[in-house]
């Protein structure tokens, strides 16, 4: 038995981007729903997709729906069932809505539904945004996810679903505290500003999907940077991450030196993030234990107090699990706080767990590969993710020179995808054996990316060898 859940609870609420015991569970739809709820509040439209398409009595609810009631066809159960099934196809393409709970794709913000499956990442992302940016992000989100002015049939179906709702808004408590993760929040703010442009029809639906991908990708960046943030408190994402990304077509051949660099970078970053989490917990223990309490129960009483802060958890039971897995008393007597924290991150929340968590989360949006179990994990950019990142980095400019795009990816997101023109090598480039090799390999990374972006229609090469990256 391991105690990922308990250690995660001990780290919260100061440290939010920590994967739970089952990192496979959070999906982009979960994170998007909870982010929208944090930004815009909950309405009575929440749960409607589930009630009209997945609940055991969905067809009965549909027959009574004001948009169906008294229609001649409403007595035909097969047609009503077909409507329930089609509502699911449109709003639940990811199969994350279940008969009792779930996360639809909120084509309209009023359909956003709370779901604990996101392990708190949606709320953590919202709380990371700079306080002063939150109103403008909420405004953009509202414009993107409002179907009132939309006339495409999918938006009309959303209006049909919402007919069953009243207008109650804002039952969720708003969190206006200072940013929980300022470096990530600043990066997310800029990316959202770039991505959330006015759109209609199919383009708007595609933007909603891209928004879910971008938020989930940001959550992965949060996991990688969260621990390090407590070691380098004033850093931005370029300082905290510095991930060497394999820019060829993923996942890439294992004997390619660029693939090996991306694998090494992955291992180093996850290990650094793990060390950072350990140090964050160490600082919390050092600041939180009460010297007036007898030494033999000092750690337990600190842990119990922290666990009691966690809502909906049984603190006493959590403490027993923690104690069984990571005893407060060792063979040589009572463990010191440092010894206990070291043991907690060796056996309780191990580096292997974090490695697997970043991998399963990263593969869901095409940031880590390969998808299947064989081959060591590496940072990659699958083409759909590359397109989303491109739009979010290039806008509000319509286009930027290719080398500027490479610089923005490094400075804003901490992704090393080139760097042939850099005077100083980024710290993350230390995965290469020497500076000369690093410069050669970064130039190779950059060239592979340039060719891929041209082939994917994200960039255009002109006759004077200049390459320009376009937002659309």
């Amino acid at each position: 038995m391991t105690s990922q859940t308990e250690i995660r609870l001990l780290l919260r609420p100061e440290v939010l981007f920590v994967p739970a015991a089952n990192p496979d569970r959070p999906a982009p739809a979960h994170v998007l729903n909870n982010f929208v709820l944090e930004a815009l509040g909950r309405t009575s439209g929440s749960e409607l997709v589930r009630r009209l398409s997945r609940a055991g009595n969905a067809t009965d609810v549909l027959v009574a729906h004001p948009g169906v009631a008294r229609a001649a066809w409403s007595t035909n159960r097969a047609t009503v069932s077909a409507l329930a099934s089609d509502i699911r196809t449109v709003f639940d393409p990811d199969r994350r809505v279940f008969p009792s709970e779930g996360s639809p794709i909120p084509i309209d913000w009023r359909l956003a539904t709370p779901d604990r499956s996101d392990d708190g990442f949606g709320a953590a992302l919202w709380r990371s945004l700079p306080t002063e940016s939150r109103p403008s992000v909420a405004g953009r989100l509202h414009r993107l996810l409002d179907t009132e002015a939309q006339s495409d049939p999918a938006s009309r179906l959303a209006r049909f679903v919402l007919l069953a709702a009243g207008d109650g808004v804002g039952t969720i408590e708003r969190h206006e505290a200072a940013s929980a993760n300022p470096p990530l929040g600043r990066a997310l703010d800029r990316m959202l500003t770039g991505l959330m442009t006015d759109a209609s029809g199919a383009r708007r639906l595609e933007l909603v999907r891209e928004l879910a991908v971008l938020l989930y990708f940001s959550a992965v960046l949060g996991v990688i940077s969260e621990g390090t943030r407590h070691v380098v408190p004033d850093g931005n994402l370029a300082d905290l991450i510095g991930a060497v990304v394999y820019t060829g077509l993923p996942p890439g051949p294992p004997d390619d030196p660029l693939v090996r660099a991306a694998q090494l970078s992955y291992r180093k970053l996850v290990s650094r993030a793990h060390t950072g989490l350990r140090e964050a917990l160490g600082s919390q223990v050092a600041a939180g234990i009460d010297p007036a309490i007898p030494e033999d129960v000092r750690l337990q009483s600190w842990a119990l107090a922290r666990l009691r802060n966690a809502p909906a958890e049984n603190a006493d039971r959590s403490l027993l699990r923690l104690q069984a897995d990571i005893p407060f008393v060792g063979a040589d007597g009572v463990r010191s706080p440092d010894e206990w924290v070291a043991a907690a991150f060796e056996t309780g929340y191990s580096v292997e767990h974090l490695t697997r968590a970043v991998r399963v989360m990263g593969t869901k949006v095409g940031f880590v590969g390969p998808v299947r179990g064989i081959g060591r994990p590496r940072f990659v950019l699958e083409t759909p993710l590359l397109a989303t990142i491109t739009r979010s980095l290039v806008q509000p400019d319509n286009s930027v020179p290719f080398h500027e795009f490479v610089v923005r990816a490094r400075e804003r997101l901490g992704l090393i995808i080139g760097g042939s023109r850099l005077e100083d090598l980024p710290l993350g480039a230390m995965v290469f054996p020497s500076e000369r090799v690093a410069r050669q390999q970064l130039a190779a990374l950059e060239e592979r990316l340039r060719i891929r972006m041209i082939q994917a229609g994200l960039a255009r090469e002109f006759s004077d060898d200049h390459t320009q990256v376009f937002a659309e």
């Binding site: 066809w73 089609d86 449109v90 990811d94 049939p153 999918a154 049909f160 029809g201 999907r209």
Partner: protein, 64 residues
């Protein structure tokens, strides 16, 4: 679909992309009609339902 399967572990995300990509002409144009395609096992069969959604009242009617 196979390509999307390679790109994403989460095949369902690919489904939505498929849905969005397959119907842009319909989704871009203001329309009261929505056609939803459902694929059978192994994609051997395709079932299509058409729905008419009234603009002002959002009442739904099946259409052939």
């Amino acid at each position: 679909m196979r390509l999307a399967d390679r790109e994403h572990d989460d095949i369902d995300w690919a489904l939505w992309r498929f849905y969005v990509r397959m119907a842009p002409a319909q989704l871009d144009a203001p329309s009261t009609r929505l056609d939803v395609m459902t694929f059978g096992a192994s994609f051997a069969t395709v079932e299509t339902h058409g729905w008419s959604i009234e603009a002002a009242t959002y009442r739904v009617e099946p259409v052939a």
